[in-house]
């Protein structure tokens, strides 16, 4: 039995509190098994097992292993004795959010919690050493800790963390604990193995979809296929006598669920259930009507400014050549392998939810709202996620639905599982966006002016409207990778620049999709830089370098990929290269690729060299996996995926019409990590995804002379082979 997942899944499955105040002893906070808590992040069992508690969610990206490395680094514990568990949101709330933010998105897991989790480990170490020193009646300064063992240097006496944890937990946590200098790190920066692998290869890992509770029933659901539509009527009598069916219930005003003994019975009955929809006015919306709205925005007089310097009109006046191009990026479903699901049990005195979630507190908020119960009567237990990619953070629709269903069957635990079709039709999609780019070149081929006009959907207007309100209608997130300042600042030093956004929202709900707005912005900007370089008759790398004054880290990653791919030397016959660079989520990223094209439309991506400069690299092996994995997600979107709208609903309803890359299409990915410290931490899970697509599109032009500007490429007859 794998100890690590036992702890995680048993806490989840039994529904017990992962932590709680000890009923029989004051002052010490104890874990469920009675072991003492030293700090909120560190529990130590008598056998020296270290349980590291993390609020962020592991969904494959390796964040839990990286965070545990950071705690263990400062704790000076034996890495082989480290395990982890999730605190519950309700407990966190009772303890004044001691674990900090639960939200696991925006590539923030490590970069925005590294300081307090390291402090949590360091504080526990100081307490353990002090407890040993007290026992030996020697000054703590004469004792050292390493590998879960404390040694009194002068006498050679030794003890272990497990033996002094109880005494250490009674000490007042010190206030002025110093963190290690990064130069002293031994575990941070090492490619240690993940903590959570074993149960993923033997079928034992419990995902939300696998949860079993005593007496549990299963629910299948259909929401109105047109966003904003409602249920007009349904004929429950037609299915209530079907085998296993327990109840047919309305869910809000837009959905119907069937609850049955097994999910297959529920789904079979739901398929047979006659439902009349009131599709509402959105049923008139089509892909064409949405595209027409976006096209209008390309030339609209009103737009929100994201980045501006100099005078773009004056710049264009100096130009002897003007280049103009229009690009497009579509709606995309997240399509994590595990469809949306949540389990709920409701009584008027208590409501509990078990859910694979990227944000336990967002799940908790959805539970509170749907149950109508106060926070002290509610709890959320986080379960392993079969992928998230942004779908399971800000959006908790499945939690709301599960609670509404459970409320109609008090006392009975109900697991709601969406079909893949439901998942495809009720996403929170990558925003749809067009861009018109205009660049002016002078007689010497210098870029003297650039206007990027974005036209399309705002995520924040739909999801975080208060931010858009504060910004007087502007969505600052739209400018990721193109912004004037901050963690998504623009990677070029172009004089006379204007980047603006004509916000054109649709009825299709937008969401944060791995990489978010850098996906389209990198395609727009980095393909257009190639168009400009070619119009100026210059090498694409040299042209970029000339326009990257004062941007040493952007230049660093670009140079690194150019050197590794061999940009200065000719490629092998039939092989063509492309480049791209951007700053995203506080990391600097670049890619260079090699492709070949057969019959003008069959693209083989042989190799992608990708460089990431996040400042700090906690686990290089996991960074490599995030980079190469993100290219599967990003290149699937580039070549073969899009969601389109017909009669107000999404057309593509499963992987046959929304395909995803297979292993035969996988390029060789070589990852370069640049980590020179400097105090600023960049993200890992998302940034690099954005540079693969433009690098490949740029290489395609080199191979064929044909410039691709519309994603996905399948619409131009192009295949990934």
């Amino acid at each position: 039995m794998n100890r690590r997942s036992f702890i995680v899944s048993s806490a989840a499955v039994t529904g017990g509190l992962a932590v709680g105040f000890n009923p029989f002893q004051t002052n010490i906070v104890r874990a469920q098994d009675g072991s003492p808590e030293l700090t909120a992040w560190v529990v130590i069992q008598p056998n020296d097992t270290v349980i590291i508690r993390m609020a962020r969610s592991e969904m494959g990206q390796g964040t839990i292993t990286g965070l545990a490395q950071m705690v263990a680094e400062e704790l000076e514990c034996d890495w082989n004795k480290v395990t982890y568990e999730y605190p519950t949101p309700g407990t966190s709330l009772k303890r004044k959010r001691v674990w900090g933010d639960f939200s696991t998105g925006g590539s923030r897991g490590i970069r925005t919690s590294h300081d307090y989790v390291r402090l949590g480990g360091a504080t526990a170490r100081v307490m353990l050493v002090q407890a040993a020193a007290n026992q030996w009646k020697v000054p703590a300064s004469e004792c050292v800790a390493a590998n879960s063992v404390i040694t009194h240097k002068a006498s050679g006496r030794k003890t272990t963390y497990g033996k002094v944890a109880e005494a250490a937990a009674r000490l007042e946590p010190p206030k002025d604990v110093k963190l290690k200098d990064p130069k002293e790190w031994k575990l941070i920066g090492k490619p240690v193995k993940r903590l959570d692998t074993v149960d993923k290869v033997n079928g034992k890992q419990v995902y939300g979809f696998d949860l079993k509770l005593p007496g549990m029933l299963n629910a299948a659901i259909k929401d109105c296929p047109v966003f904003g539509g409602k249920v007009k009527s349904f004929d429950a009598g037609r299915v209530t006598s079907m085998k296993g069916v327990k109840k047919v219930v309305p869910v809000g005003d837009s959905a119907v669920a069937v609850v049955a003994e097994t999910w297959w019975q529920a789904k079979t009955a739901l398929d047979a259930l006659p439902i009349q929809w009131d599709e509402g006015p959105n049923a008139k919306v089509s892909q064409e009507s949405i595209l027409a709205t976006l096209k209008e925005g390309l030339g609209a007089s009103q737009a929100f400014v994201g980045n501006q310097n100099g005078d773009v009109k004056a710049g264009f006046a100096k130009a002897t050549k003007t280049v103009e191009a229009t690009y497009f990026y579509p709606f995309l479903n997240h399509a994590p392998m595990e469809p949306m699901n949540a389990s709920a049990r409701y009584t008027p005195d208590r409501c509990e939810v078990w859910v694979p979630t990227q944000d336990g507190e967002a799940s908790f908020a959805a539970l509170l709202a749907a149950s109508g119960l106060p926070a002290d009567k509610c709890e959320v237990y986080k379960i392993n996620l079969g992928g998230g990619f942004g779908r399971r953070g800000a959006f908790q629709d499945y939690v709301t639905q599960a609670v509404i269903i459970a409320k109609q069957m008090p006392g009975v635990p109900v697991k709601l599982l969406w079909t893949r079709e439901e998942d495809m039709l009720h996403g929170h999609y990558h925003p749809i966006m067009m861009a018109k780019l205009t660049g002016g070149l002078d007689a010497s081929g210098n870029l003297v002016g650039l206007h990027v006009r974005l036209s399309g959907q705002s995520i924040l207007a739909a999801v975080r409207p208060h931010i858009v309100e504060q910004q007087k209608g502007r969505d600052p997130l739209t400018f990721q990778g193109l912004a004037d300042t901050g963690e998504h600042s623009f990677g070029y030093s172009i004089p006379n620049l204007l980047i603006d956004h004509a916000m054109r929202n649709t009825h299709v709900p937008p969401g944060f999709w791995r990489g978010v707005n850098i996906n389209q912005n990198a395609v727009f900007m980095e393909c257009f830089m190639d168009e400009l370089a070619q119009a100026a008759g210059q090498d694409e790398l040299e042209f970029r370098r000339k326009n990257m004054q004062g941007l040493p880290r952007n230049l660093g990653v670009l140079n690194a990929v150019a050197e590794r791919i061999g940009w200065s030397k000719p490629a092998k016959p039939g092989i063509y290269r492309g480049l791209a660079q951007m700053k995203a989520f506080n990391s600097f990223v670049a890619a260079a690729c090699e492709i070949s094209v057969q019959d003008g439309n069959k693209v083989k991506v042989h190799r992608i060299v990708a460089a990431t400069d996040p400042g700090y690299a906690v686990n290089p092996a996991q960074i490599e996996r995030q980079v190469s994995g993100s290219f599967v997600y990003g290149l699937s979107a580039l070549f073969m995926q899009e969601n389109t709208v017909k009669d107000g609903r999404i057309v593509e309803d499963n992987f046959h019409t929304f395909p995803s890359m297979r292993i035969s299409q996988m390029p060789k990915v070589e990852t370069i990590i640049i980590a020179n410290g400097g105090g600023i931490w960049g993200g890992i899970g998302e940034p690099t995804i954005c540079v693969a697509a433009p690098a490949v599109m740029n290489a395609f032009f080199k191979a064929t002379g044909k410039r691709l500007r519309d994603v996905p490429l399948k619409n131009q007859g192009i295949e990934l082979v």
């Binding site: 993923k200 392993n384 893949r420």
Partner: protein, 152 residues
């Protein structure tokens, strides 16, 4: 009643004979390592072995596999000894979220059973599972490593 042999054990289950094998494995037998991803035999998360051959169980009516030898991810190891594919998966830290990996491992194990030393082209042809985290680079490395661990 449908009589099934799963991981060497015989089960008599009271189920509609049209029920896909996937849901019988999960809901009647209670083995949840085999996953649902699409329900249309596209993604491969539901891959099991039927008489040693990899099959997508989400569209396979349970009535069609009566009397045949079915193996799921839970039955791949020999007692406490993990299958060499599972060992290679651990050694190369292959899974990310892990949800598709049961099916991926079953497909890889079936490939090695029929082709002990597969080429990259063999892997491309046999492994058609979808992985949204994008573990393909590690999957390929681990299959080659498992092949090397095979006694010739």
């Amino acid at each position: 009643m449908v009589r099934l042999t799963i991981n060497g054990k015989t089960h008599n289950v009271d189920v509609d004979p049209n029920t896909p094998l996937l849901w019988v494995i999960r809901e009647q037998i209670g083995l949840t390592g085999t996953k649902y991803g699409c329900g249309i035999a596209q993604c491969g998360a539901c891959t099991v072995h039927v008489n040693g051959a990899p099959m997508r169980s989400c569209m396979l009516p349970v009535s069609t596999v009566v009397g045949q030898k079915i193996t799921t991810i839970e039955g791949l190891a020999s007692g406490k000894t993990l299958h060499r594919v599972q060992q290679a998966w651990i050694a190369h830290d292959v899974p990310q979220c892990g949800y598709c990996q049961s099916g991926m491992i079953m497909a890889a194990a079936a490939l090695l059973a029929s082709k002990p030393k597969p080429t990259d082209a063999d892997i491309d042809a046999a492994i058609t599972n979808i992985c949204r985290c994008g573990t393909f680079q590690e999957v390929r490395t681990a299959i080659h490593a498992a092949a090397k661990a095979t006694k010739a």
